[in-house]
């Protein structure tokens, strides 16, 4: 098991290192294809390799034509398999944090909540890998108010670190009758205003926490981005009259997410490569937006 893990990790890193070369190859093939289609002469730098590349182009099918990145590797089986999530907290959680985590376990379908106790992060990750979990979500707090969310995709996947702001939990709404019970159908997802590459990446990380829904569910989970602050909302809708009337009823917790780091490794790998990290001390950081345009 250990050796297998090591081998697979090395394979993943090797594939990542090959990406550059693969991209080059892809570019060359693309140029040749274009030249052939338009009837233009093939660019001179590709003359030597033209024959071999042409043969490869002919043999390609739709899977091999697109260059695969490590991102694809990370989420290769995500669409085929339903995600399995482990939710846990930092050590010694307060009661409000425990309640929040309980709510979150209802928000994510197929999520399992676990008491943290005194476990070490690396142990948690190892056991999750062994039990075929796809994601681990850690929630941190400050004096009862949840303030941090760490989403770690499991087989060597990326880890996204979010800060939580303006958290409103279901427990704060005292009237239990009004809020009702939480539905457990697989929800539809809405990702609004994630236009840059980094935005797409973040959207993917959050998207693959959810399974494939049925087309007619009434439950909606929304991640709406406004100047790098992502609002999380959870609704149920009803269509009373005709198609135009839609009534939304908000259920579930509501919070703002603020991404501050993405690492290309799991949580326990402290020395993993940083894909992106927030830099608030730059003078222009007030003007720049990273998740949208």
């Amino acid at each position: 098991m250990l050796r297998r893990n090591i081998r697979m990790r090395r394979e993943y890193l090797y594939r990542k290192s090959l990406e550059g070369k693969e991209r080059l190859l892809y570019e060359k093939k693309r140029k040749i294809r274009e030249a052939l289609q338009e009837g233009k002469p093939i660019p001179t730098e590709l003359r030597n390799e033209e024959a071999a590349l042409r043969r490869e182009i002919d043999l390609e099918d739709e899977n091999t034509a697109v260059p695969r990145t490590h991102i694809d590797d990370e989420y290769a089986h995500a669409a085929e398999k339903d995600p399995k999530i482990l939710l846990t907290t930092s050590r010694d959680p307060s009661a409000p944090l425990q309640q929040f985590v309980k709510e979150l376990s209802y928000v994510f379908p197929n999520a399992q909540r676990m008491n943290r106790g005194g476990q070490v992060i690396s142990e948690i990750i190892e056991s999750c890998r062994a039990h075929d979990y796809t994601d681990v979500v850690l929630v941190h707090e400050h004096r009862g108010v949840p303030d941090g969310l760490i989403v770690c995709h499991l087989p060597y996947g990326p880890t996204a670190y979010f800060g939580l702001l303006n958290v409103v939990t279901r427990h704060e709404i005292k009237d239990k009758k009004a809020i009702g019970t939480m539905p457990e159908a697989y929800p539809h997802l809405i990702f609004d205003n994630f236009s840059t590459k980094l935005g797409e990446r973040t959207a993917n990380i959050l998207k693959y926490l959810f399974p494939v829904p049925k087309p007619d569910t009434k439950r909606i989970v929304t991640f709406s981005n406004q100047s790098d602050y992502v609002s999380f909302r959870h609704h149920i809708y009803e269509k009373h009259g005709g198609p135009k009337s839609i009534e939304l009823k908000e259920i579930g917790p509501r919070f703002e997410l603020r991404l501050y780091q993405i690492k290309l490794g799991t949580v326990d790998q402290a020395e993993a490569q940083i894909e992106w990290v927030i830099r608030p001390y730059m003078n222009t950081s007030k003007k720049r937006k990273f998740l949208s345009d």
Partner: protein, 594 residues
């Protein structure tokens, strides 16, 4: 010896007589003179240092540094012994009186003194000269350091010689008069002055405010000569050095004053001339010469009096300085400033000290590693624990503040959601299309409905198909398709007839159909053609009747009557019906007519 002695004295005298600034320019004759003078002095001092390895100062072929080292070799042990003795006398003043006074002649003493003075003089001059000789690489001014060194050497010599002098004079003073006193020195005056000074000093120590400003004033107004006297005639007491220092400080001030009064003042203001140690020396020289001092006595001034740091004098000195330069008002302030009794160091001295100490501090700080706040990126491991709490960390937070969730924001989000729902535009996870690994199995759908055709019909159809495949009824499921194909066949036939030259119509295929009511035996009969249906039909099919069927002949009378009655009844009912219809029809035309 005498000759050499004379030569040496001569050299000394010549040195003293030379114009001081001429020392600045390299002059081989002057250096020769100074060397001779120093040799003379050295040999004069030789009897007082028994342990000295050198009997004579070796000059020929030696450079200034080496000559100086030889002098140093002699003077260092001398100095230490003198210091010891001075201390001893300082502790036990009564022993001074016990000192054996050597009843030398005045002249001899004087000569001796002169010798010593000359020696020291020579040392000074020579050293100066040597310094000049060394530094003649085109440098006009000498470094302060060199001068200081020089002064140091001079002071050493002066101290030593002065110490000896003091001792000597102390002895003499007790014994008699004429040996010491001259036109400058009056012992009575000296005694008075000393007492005064002692009182003053005590007062100064007690009272930091210093009321003896007035006293000082008086003192400074005294004749310079007195001061000079004090300097030479001193008791070996605790305050000896103090007094010396004070007196010398007075001098210094005077000299400064005088110097400044010269054209040097102008230069100083212009900034072209900075006061250096050498200049001070010259200034002193000039001043004292102006006062009428003998050159020998001038040289008794010690270096330390100019540049040494004696903690007790500064007050007095400062006071005097201010008196001379300005009024006595500031004196008190200065006294207040000086809480400690510092030595009578000049302001320049003190400034220098301050600067030096600052420089040292800064150099030390530069050599040490910087504090963690100045070290750029510092992690928590690299700085002391909780140190970030104590430091005021100030940096700009260049971030957009968190959005406040208002009603409008929520409404806008919900609007967007509603729009997406109506469009059905969701960002769900899409199931990836799996690559076909197996051939999809054919699923045979079994129709549960009861078949409309009976089993016999199905067998019939199969038989027909077998016999004549072409005549099989078109087994189209779709009726429309069936109709369409029939139509098309007809059309095709007609088109063929039109299109072909040699058209041969298709042979009519007899349509085989299954007839149900066929007799079991279909024999050819020679029977008449006209066959009624009755032959085909079974008797029940011909007539169906129920009950007991009787003929007319078999009927009884009642039964005949009953039959007739039934017949009539039926006939009548039908007739009535007919009539009803006729009436209706008749009514209509009647109505129409009417």
């Amino acid at each position: 010896m005498a000759d050499s002695k004379d030569a040496g004295e001569e050299a000394l005298r010549r040195l003293i007589a030379t114009f001081q600034p001429s020392f600045l320019a390299p002059n081989p004759a002057l250096s020769e003179t100074s060397r001779a003078a120093s040799r003379h002095l050295f040999s004069a001092l030789r009897p007082f240092c028994p342990k000295s390895p050198l009997d004579q100062l070796l000059i020929d072929g030696f450079d200034a540094e080496q000559i100086w080292q030889q002098i140093d070799l002699q003077s260092q042990p001398l100095l230490s012994s003198l210091r010891r003795q001075v201390k001893h006398f300082a502790k036990n003043p009564e022993e001074i009186s016990k000192l054996k006074v050597v009843p030398l002649g005045k002249k001899v003493e004087k000569e001796q003194r002169e010798d010593w003075v000359e020696e020291s003089d020579g040392f000074d001059e020579e050293l100066e000269d040597d310094e000049e000789g060394e530094g003649k690489g085109g440098e006009e001014g000498m470094d302060i350091e060199d001068e200081d060194e020089e002064q140091g050497r001079e002071s050493d010599n002066e101290e030593e010689s002065e110490g000896e002098d003091e001792e000597e004079k102390g002895e003499d003073g007790e014994a008699g008069d004429g040996g010491i006193e001259d036109k400058f020195l009056k012992i009575d005056e000296l005694a008075k002055y000393l007492e005064k000074e002692e009182e003053n000093f005590e007062k100064a120590e007690e009272d930091t405010r210093g009321k003896k400003g007035a006293d000082d004033e008086e003192n400074t107004e005294d004749d310079d000569d007195d001061d000079e006297e004090e300097e030479e005639e001193e008791e070996e007491s605790d305050e000896v050095s103090v007094l010396l220092g004070s007196i010398v400080s007075d001098f210094v001030l005077l000299c400064l004053h005088r110097m400044l009064s010269l054209d040097l003042a102008a230069k100083m203001q212009q900034g072209t001339w900075k006061m250096q140690g050498m200049d001070l020396f010259y200034g002193v020289f000039l001043t004292l010469e102006h006062c009428g001092w003998d050159e020998q006595f001038i040289l008794l001034l010690r270096y330390e009096d100019f540049f040494g740091d004696k903690g007790k004098y500064s007050k007095k000195m400062k006071a005097q300085l201010h008196q001379e330069s300005e009024g006595s008002d500031e004196e008190d302030d200065d006294m207040k400033f000086k809480k400690q009794n510092k030595g009578t160091a000049s302001t320049h001295q003190k400034q220098l000290e301050k600067i030096h100490s600052k420089i040292e501090e800064m150099e030390k700080a530069n050599l040490e590693p910087k504090t963690w706040t100045m070290q750029g990126e510092v992690t928590a491991a690299k700085r002391p624990k909780n140190s970030a709490l104590e430091v005021d960390l100030d940096f700009e937070h260049n971030v957009r503040p968190a959005p406040v969730i208002t009603e409008e924001v929520t409404a806008s989000i919900e609007d967007m959601i509603k729009k997406r729902i109506t469009e059905g535009n969701f960002n769900d996870v899409q199931k990836a299309p799996k690559l076909p690994s197996k051939v999809p199995r054919e699923v045979k759908e079994l129709d549960d409905n009861k078949s409309k055709k009976g089993l016999a019909e199905i067998y019939e159809q199969e038989y027909v198909e077998k016999e004549d495949p072409t005549s099989a009824p078109l087994s189209f499921r779709d009726e429309q398709k069936q109709q369409a194909s029939v139509l098309f066949k007809k059309l095709g036939l007609k088109l063929d007839a039109l299109a072909h030259f040699s058209f041969a119509p298709k042979p009519v295929i007899e349509d085989m159909s299954v007839q149900i009511n066929v007799p079991a035996l279909a024999m050819e009969e020679i029977a008449p053609v006209a066959v009624s249906d009755a032959a085909m039909l079974a008797p029940e099919e011909v007539f169906e009747g129920k009950g007991d069927i009787k003929e007319e002949t078999e009927l009884t009378k009642e039964e005949r009557k009953r039959r007739r009655a039934n017949k009539k009844r039926r006939f009548k009912a039908a007739a009535v019906k007919r009539m009803g219809k006729k009436v209706q029809e008749g009514a209509l035309p009647n109505q129409m007519n009417g």
